[in-house]
């Protein structure tokens, strides 16, 4: 749980971040190492716990190249790390409020995300996902109109959009996942307890204070 040696000294790790040599301590994340090494212009950092998806990096170990999140990646000797620029603006446009009803979701999906049906099964999205999501399977589910399942597959998506960059067909899998989740809530989430309370409020029944149990 600590990364100190027995005599209390830190184990030193040598790596490069954005081309600069950095000397870090074992157990540091790449974000901590970048600060520790004074690497300038690291602006893509947010939550530091793996949920905001901002700190996108490319990591090179020898000949092997991978992508990930800097706050979830620990320093390694000899690693070469580049902070990636933010993802480009979305190419797929839709507004849920313009959907008439749930019957034409599938048709709308194919209009909005025509590339999804052209998946080449290259697994680039799966490999690039820092959360271990079965991205390709999720895209397949959405293409088959199984939006609830697709949304569930993308449940842990943090919108880092690394899969979008990895896709040779420009499918934008992260946005396919979010579309799937959103239409599922928008058209199918109709909770009785909430609807009942909304109706009471509409009739202004609870506007009058009720007798409270302990006051």
């Amino acid at each position: 749980m600590t990364h100190d040696t027995a005599d209390g000294n830190h184990v030193t790790i040598a790596l490069t971040i954005n081309g600069l040599a950095v000397s870090a301590h074992a157990g540091m994340t790449v974000v901590e190492a970048a600060w520790h090494g004074g690497v300038p212009r690291v602006t893509g950092v947010g939550c530091m716990e793996g949920v905001c998806g901002s700190c996108r990096i490319m990591l090179k170990r020898g000949k092997q190249v991978s992508v990930g999140l800097a706050c979830q990646t620990f320093v390694e000797d000899g690693a070469e790390i580049i902070f990636l620029p933010p993802a480009p603006a979305p190419r797929h446009h839709y507004e849920l409020s313009e959907f008439k009803d749930g019957w034409d979701i599938h048709a709308r999906f194919q209009d909005i995300f025509p590339e999804a049906a052209r998946c080449r099964h290259c697994h680039g999205c799966n490999v690039s996902c820092p959360k271990g999501i079965a991205v390709e399977e999720g895209v397949k589910q959405a293409s088959a109109g199984r939006f609830r399942d697709a949304g569930e597959t993308f449940f842990e998506c943090v919108m880092c959009e690394l899969c979008d960059g990895a896709c040779p067909e420009f499918i934008a899998p992260a946005h396919v996942g979010l579309f799937s989740r959103r239409v599922t809530a928008h058209f199918h989430l109709r909770p009785p307890n909430l609807i009942h309370r909304l109706e009471e409020l509409r009739q202004d029944k609870t506007g009058t204070p009720q007798k409270d149990h302990d006051e």
């Binding site: 749980m1 947010g46 949920v51 933010p86 849920l96 842990e156 809530a185 909304l198």
Partner: protein, 531 residues
């Protein structure tokens, strides 16, 4: 302040997930517990403000230094700076900013949303536990109001609290319409939990990713909306005022990418800049995201907005002590709401885990102070959050309901089903902030404040789930009000308020060495943002 406690190895050896636990001792004197151990009451941590609209009021010492400081911008800096005109400027890209922007755009305003980091980088995205709304049959808006006021030690503004609670059910409806999912019971009802300070179950959630689910939906809705332009990496460094310095008519933004200034001229500015955990008040770790440096409070105070409860902060009881890269990061209160207990190094419960956060926080600090904490090293002492016992009582619960916790601990090689989590209070939330009315309007015309930067709702202690509700409820209220502000817009934008603040500092003989807002904490500012 901390005495030794019991070493980690010894405490681990003593720990049993199946021991019989006696109930915690009765809480006889809550006030004395708070006054002795809560960090708000640390000696020398509070000063009186000397200048500005809150002169004479109590304020946390480190925050006071930022509020009473010099600005970055002079009139000369603004010559030749490009000007953008919009109807509504939203500063901040978290949940409150997105809700305000979407609502203003729904009402037909041309909206510019400027955010310091990436759209969605915020404390919202990290919120795990849930959002409060009185939707269960035995619950009522009135009970929600009472719980919120009681939790805030009756300092909260009842009018704001009533607005918040009444909005709850409609906020959920709005979020579902936008495409946000919530957990459901088998009946189809929204699943609710009872958390600290609630008299009845009221916490609606999306497993332990409620904030992420909310933020990714809001973010997508904002980027897809034709009426909203988004500028990322664009922190505000000063507001702009009219010729008399009495009205807010825009802001000066910089860019973290090229350090160039931009002027935005507008009828309404909505501050949604969030909190200040990254100031690490009183030396505490923080759960907050990188941008939480209190910028909104500084900007609002300099232009003359009244602030409130500047000496009251929430230290979340259960921040992680280790692994070190997650120090200060939260373990959700949802875990305690699900039945997880707090245990000291002697294997004893010491507080009812569902007391409000300030009380639980003070009780943990007391255990650490009185030698019943688990000691990692001289600086780091904590108490157990007994996750293995919860797993024994409800097998599979952690994996099914708390995937976020499991995923974060997995990469660090810790399994909370087997090993209890070592926790210590962490700076989490700014209870006070910019004083607002039910429209989110500050005391300065043209300036609105919503979300954590605003104050008055939570009194001196916020209940879990009221922050996610507040950002949507008041974000939407301010979005409507800011759009309804149909005056002609500014003829002239000036820094008159800055001159006024500078004169006040000079007259009071205050040091003018520090320039604020901070924008980024020192340790992360390397080469990005030149102060």
């Amino acid at each position: 302040m901390m005495s030794n406690g019991i070493s980690l190895a010894e405490a681990l050896a003593r720990y049993r997930a199946d021991s019989n636990l006696a109930p915690p001792p009765a809480l006889t004197d809550k006030d004395s517990l708070l006054n002795t151990y809560h960090p708000d009451h640390l000696r020398d941590s509070v000063v009186k403000l000397t200048v500005g609209p809150n002169a004479g009021d109590s304020c946390q010492r480190e925050l006071a230094a930022l509020l009473q400081a010099e600005t970055f911008i002079d009139e000369a800096d603004l010559a030749g700076v490009p000007v953008t005109d919009v109807d509504v400027l939203v500063i901040g890209g978290g949940g409150a900013g997105c809700a305000a922007a979407l609502t203003a755009a729904e009402k037909g305003a041309r909206v510019l949303l400027a955010t310091k980091l990436r759209l969605g980088d915020s404390n919202t995205v990290m919120a795990e536990g849930g959002i409060q709304a009185a939707i269960e049959p035995e619950d009522s808006i009135q009970r929600h109001i009472q719980d919120t006021l009681r939790g805030g030690h009756h300092i909260g503004n009842p009018e704001l609290v009533a607005a918040l609670a009444a909005d709850g059910p409609n906020v959920l409806r709005w979020l579902i319409q936008l495409g946000m999912q919530f957990d459901q019971a088998p009946s189809g009802d929204l699943h609710t939990r009872k958390a600290g300070g609630m008299s009845t179950p009221r916490l609606v959630h999306c497993r332990d990713y409620t904030g992420l689910e909310m933020m990714r939906v809001l973010r997508e809705a904002v980027t897809q909306h034709r009426g909203i332009e988004v500028w990322e990496q664009s922190p505000a460094v000063e507001l702009l005022s009219n010729e008399t310095g009495e009205k807010c008519v825009g802001a000066v933004l910089t860019s973290l990418l090229d350090n160039r200034l931009r002027i935005v001229r507008t009828r309404s500015v909505i501050l949604a800049t969030g909190g200040l955990g990254r100031l690490h008040l009183n030396g505490f770790p923080t759960s907050n995201h990188l941008g939480a440096t209190g910028d909104g409070l500084v900007l609002a105070y300099r232009i003359g907005a009244k602030l409130c409860e500047l000496d009251s902060f929430q230290y979340h009881p259960t921040g992680l002590l280790h692994p070190s890269h997650l120090a200060g990061k939260l373990v959700t209160e949802g875990l305690r709401a699900a039945g997880c207990l707090l245990v000291n190094a002697l294997g004893q419960r010491f507080i009812d885990e569902l007391q409000p956060r300030d009380v639980v926080c003070a009780a943990i600090l007391r255990e650490c102070h009185e030698g019943r904490g688990v000691r990692v090293n001289e600086q780091h002492v904590g108490v157990w959050l007994d996750t293995p016992r919860l797993e024994r009582a409800q097998p599979g619960l952690l994996e099914a309901q708390f995937p976020n916790l499991m995923s974060r601990t997995r990469i660090a090689g810790v399994d909370p089903r087997v090993q209890p989590l070592l926790t210590h209070p962490t700076l989490h939330y700014q209870n006070g902030g910019v004083s607002i009315n039910v429209d989110g309007a500050s005391t300065v015309p043209g300036l609105y404040a919503v979300g954590e930067v605003s104050g008055g709702i939570h009194g001196r202690n916020r209940l879990m789930g009221n922050a996610l509700l507040e950002i949507i409820s008041f974000g939407r209220r301010a979005g409507v009000a800011a759009t309804a502000n149909r005056d002609r817009g500014p003829k002239k934008v000036t820094l008159e308020h800055v001159n006024r603040a500078r004169r006040a500092l000079t007259i009071a003989n205050m040091p003018m060495t520090q320039r604020t807002p901070l924008v980024l904490p020192d340790y992360a500012a390397g080469g990005i943002w030149k102060r």
